[in-house]
C-alpha cells in the first residue's frame, strides 16, 4: 500500500508532535500534521482516480466485471520499464506507448474472450480472473519475477512546501510527483469526459449501453464500439501503470494491490456518471488518510472497506447516482 510509505515519511513529524509537552504548541503541531496528512491524502486520491478510471469505463459503461484490471495496470508499468531500460526514454514520453500497448492487448482480449461472454457477468468474472493469471504468468516468463525499478524524471523530484515551521522544518508539503499524478489523473478524466459527452463516438457508446438493439438498428457498429471502449478502458489502466511505476516497484503481482481498491472506488462513486469516481476516490482516499492519522493504517483500511460494504448493501448503484426505476 502506498499508505505505508506515506506513514513512514510522516512519522518523524508525528513523533515531534508527540514530544511537544506544552499543550498549545502540541495543538499547533498536530493541526499542521493533520493538514499535511490531508494534503498527502490528495496523493492517494490521485492514484485511486488514475487506477479506477479504466474500471469505471469497463464496468461502469460496459458492465464488464474485469478482474484483470490490475494486470492491465501492471502491463502499462512494464511497458514503461521496458522502454526506459532499452531506449532510455523519459517516463513522460513512454505514457502514450503504455496507453497504446495496453489498448491493443485490451482489444485482442475483447475480441477473443469478452465478446463471447456478454450478458453473463459471473462467467466474465471467472474468465478475466483466468486472464489475470495468464497475464501475470506471461510477464513473469518474459521479465522474470524480479522487482524492477523505474526512474522518475529528475524535474519531478522534490516537493512543494506550503507551510514552514519556526525551525525551518517543513510542516505541510506535497511531492511534485504526487502533484503530477493528480494533474495527469484530472487531465485524463477531462479528456475522457469530453470523449464521452462531446464526440459522436461517445454518443455511440452511450447509446449502445442504453439500448443495444436499437442502436444496432440505427446503424451503429456495436461490436466495434464494444471493442473500442474496452480497449480505451484498458489503455487508461496502462497509463495508470506507467505513472505509478516510478512510485512503486514493478513486479508481476503488482496489479493485485489496485484491484480491490479500484473496485471500491467505482462502487462508491457509482457508475452512472464518470464524475462519480472523482467523488469516490476523494472520499476513500481522504477518509483513509485521515483515519490513518487518528488511529493507524490497517485500521483505516478495515474501516473504509467496512463502510464500502455497508454502502454496497444499501446503495449498490453508488452514492452519486440518481435513483432510477429499473
Amino acid at each position: 500500500m502506498s499508505d505505508f510509505a506515506l506513514l513512514s515519511m510522516l512519522s518523524p513529524i508525528y513523533l515531534l508532535a508527540q514530544d511537544a509537552a506544552a499543550g498549545a504548541a502540541k495543538e499547533a503541531f498536530v493541526w499542521s500534521t493533520l493538514v499535511n496528512q490531508a494534503v498527502n491524502g490528495i496523493g492517494i486520491v490521485g492514484i485511486l482516480l488514475l487506477t479506477s478510471m479504466g474500471l469505471a469505463i469497463t464496468f461502469g459503461v460496459m458492465r464488464i466485471i474485469n478482474l484483470a484490471h490490475g494486470e492491465f495496470i501492471m502491463l502499462g508499468a512494464y511497458i514503461t520499464f521496458w522502454m526506459q531500460d532499452v531506449f532510455k526514454m523519459d517516463l513522460l514520453l513512454t505514457i502514450p506507448f503504455a496507453f497504446l500497448g495496453t489498448a491493443i492487448v485490451g482489444a485482442i482480449v475483447e475480441l477473443t474472450i469478452i465478446r463471447r461472454l456478454y450478458g453473463r457477468p459471473l462467467e466474465t468474472l471467472l474468465a478475466t480472473w483466468g486472464l489475470s493469471i495468464v497475464l501475470q504468468g506471461v510477464i513473469k516468463l518474459i521479465f522474470t519475477a524480479q522487482l524492477k525499478y523505474v526512474k522518475a524524471p529528475a524535474y519531478l523530484s522534490g516537493s512543494i512546501d506550503f507551510l514552514k515551521g519556526e525551525g525551518g522544518a517543513t510542516l505541510v508539503s506535497i511531492s511534485y510527483y504526487r502533484f503530477f499524478i493528480i494533474a495527469i489523473a484530472l487531465a485524463l478524466l477531462a479528456i475522457t469526459m469530453y470523449l464521452f459527452y462531446g464526440t459522436s463516438w461517445g454518443r455511440q457508446i452511450r447509446s449502445v449501453t442504453q439500448n443495444r438493439s436499437m442502436s444496432q438498428c440505427l446503424g451503429v457498429n456495436t461490436k466495434l464500439v464494444d471493442m473500442g471502449t474496452f480497449a480505451y478502458g484498458c489503455g487508461l489502466a496502462g497509463v495508470a501503470g506507467a505513472v505509478i511505476s516510478a512510485l512503486k516497484t514493478v513486479s508481476p503481482p503488482m496489479g493485485q494491490d489496485y484491484l480491490v481498491d479500484s473496485w471500491m472506488v467505482v462502487v462508491t462513486g457509482g457508475v452512472d456518471k464518470l464524475v462519480g469516481i472523482l467523488a469516490g476516490s476523494f472520499l476513500i482516499g481522504e477518509s483513509n488518510a485521515i483515519i490513518a492519522f487518528i488511529l493507524n493504517d490497517p485500521t483505516a483500511r478495515v474501516i473504509v472497506l467496512g463502510a464500502v460494504i455497508v454502502l454496497i448493501r444499501y446503495r449498490p448503484e453508488g452514492l452519486f447516482t440518481v435513483q432510477k426505476r429499473s
Partner: protein, 383 residues
Amino acid sequence: MSDVVMGYKQSTFPKKLAAISGFALLVLVILPFFVGSFQLSLISKLLLFGTLAVSLDLVWGFTGILSFAHGIFFTLGGYAAAYYLKLNLSAAKNTYGGELPDFMVWNGLTELPWFIAPLKYFPIALLAVVGVPALFAYITGSFMFRSKVSGVYITIITLALSSALTTFFVSQQAYTGGTNGITDVSKLSVFGLEIPPIGIYFLILAYTVFVLALGWWLTQSNFGLILRSINENENRIAFLGYDVAQYKIFIWTLSAALAGIAGGLFVPLNRFISPVYLAVAFGTQVVIWVAIGGRGTLVGPLIAAMLLGQVQNSAEKVTQDWQLIVGVLLLVVVLFIPNGLMSLLPKQFSLANLSKPKPLPTPDAAVPVAPEAMQPEPAQRSS
C-alpha cells in the same frame, strides 16, 4: 409441492452411484498404505481443499451465490483449532515456558486475552471451529441477503470482506501472530495419545465422505430443489411464497460451518495457519476448483482440487510457471466447457443419472409422464 418432487420420491437406492463411490472410497482407504508420508499429507491436504470446494459448490453451484470469501470461513475455523493446539503446548515445549504463546510474548502481552483463553478446552474449541465461521456467515449473510443486492455485488462484497479481514488479521499481531500466523502448534492428541498422520488422514477422509453425503442428500431433497430454483429464477420462487433470503442465509451459514471444520482439520495436519488463507488469492483458488470441476456437481470440485493439487506438486518440480497453466485451463473451461470438466463425462455417468434408477415399467400406465420430464431443466443457466 408433492407432485413436483414425485420423480424423487419414486427413487429407490441408487445402486450404480453406490458402486462407484464405494470403489472410490475403497481406493482412498487403502491408498495410505502404499504411499509415502509426503504423499499422505499432500492427499490429506487436498482432500480438505476439495471439501472446502464442495462447501462453496453448495453456495455457488446450487444457489448461484459466487463467493470469494470461503477462504475466510476456512481460516476462522483454522485459527480456532490453532489456538487450541497452541495453548495445549506443554510448558516445556513452549519457547518461553509458561502459558503464553510465543507470538503474544513477542508482542508484549502479559496475559492471555479473555476471548482466546477458553479455547484451551477441547469442547469449547470444537464449538468454536464450527460456531465462529457459522456465526460470522450468519451475520454477513443476514446483512447481504436481506436486501435487493444480488449477483455481482454480493461477489464484490465478499472480495471486500476478504481484503478487510486479511488486513485486520495481519495488523493484530499480538492476537493473531500477524503475517506469520500461528506456527509450531502441538500435535492433536486424544486422551494424551498423539494421533499419527494416518489417523488424521482417516479423520479427514471421514469428514470428506460426510460432507459429500450431506451435500448429496441436501441437494436431492426438496430443499435442494428450492436452492436450484433460486439459482434459476429468484423472483419466481419468491412469488411462490418462499422466503428466498432465509434459504440463502441457511445454505450460506451451513457452507461456512463446513468450510470452518475443514479449516479446523487443516491445522493439526499442516501445523500452522496464517492470513494467506484469508486473502483474495486463496478465495479465488477455491472458486477456480469449483469452476473447473463443474458447478453443481459436488464431486467435480473435489476431484478438480485433488487433481490440480497433484499436478501442481509435480509441475512445480519442473517449472515455476505453474500458475500460467491454471490460468489457461480456467480460461478454456469458462469459454468452451462452461459446466466444468464433469460435464465431459458420458451422460450415463452424470450424477443426476446415477442417483436415479431406471423408471419401472408401469403396466397400468397411470403415470404416463416419465420421471425425467418432471425435473427442472438443468440446461439453461441464467447466471
